[in-house]
Amino acid sequence: MKAQKNRLGVLGSFKLMGANLRDNPERVAFLMHRITGIILVGFIFAHIISTNSLARNGWEHWMAVEVEHLRTLNPISLAFFIAMGAAVFHGLNGIRLLLVEALALWIGRPEKPKPPYVAPSLKGFQRRAIYAVFALWLIIWAAIGYVMFLW
């Protein structure tokens, strides 16, 4: 198949120029789901490889190198904290997507279009669910920060 010149491809999802973000939390949530997904894949690679040091180098190395980095605020613990934030957002928004996309919940029922037409899905509970996802994300992320750095 020949690639099309006018095809934005994956960059289209990150291209904000022309995208209407105002009163469009669905678009913001979509973009953040992708960004957090990319962060998490990087974290999963690092996490699986770093925890393998348990099997390769033993417990002393694990405590001295891997765990020691998480005791104080430094670039590695900060990256870990950011990855935790990404995991929480991706997870909460993922639950919303499972309910809205996979189970078609909270999107309202089809109705006869009358001006001014607003799609039923935009009046459904799914939109409030997005705001709930953002609020819960910030609360849980702050709690994780407290447990990691202040407990």
Partner: protein, 115 residues
């Protein structure tokens, strides 16, 4: 893989991961083990007990995470370009990455020794 099959795989692994990652993260909460701080939940005794008793859940978490993550990136990369060679390259690299990551993760679970 058909787009529909890929989507079902994403939804199924996502459903599993909601529970498994919540459990995995909750175990780092100090009161769960009665320890003083987050780094102490990563101590050898705590971790070895966790790995030896929950190896099956950890293996399931590993496989579900790798499948969900790699399939997600694969989907994004396939949006980049529509050529057959690119599709072949992305699918091959995804399969290789998934196998390597699962092998490393399983090695961690199997080869860890008591502290």
């Amino acid at each position: 893989m058909k787009a529909g099959t890929s989507a079902i795989l994403q939804y199924l692994t996502a459903f599993l991961l909601v529970f498994l990652i919540s459990w995995h993260m909750a175990l780092r909460f100090p009161p769960v083990y009665g320890v003083e701080s987050f780094p102490e939940t990563l101590s050898p005794e705590v971790l070895y007990k966790e790995i030896s008793t929950s190896w099956l859940l950890l293996s399931l978490l590993l496989v579900a995470t790798v499948l969900h993550g790699i399939n997600g990136i694969r989907t994004m990369l396939l949006e980049w370009n529509a050529s057959d060679s690119w599709r072949l390259l992305v699918n091959g690299a995804s399969l290789l990455a998934a196998v390597v990551l699962c092998a490393i993760g399983i090695h961690t679970i199997v080869a860890v020794v008591p502290p």
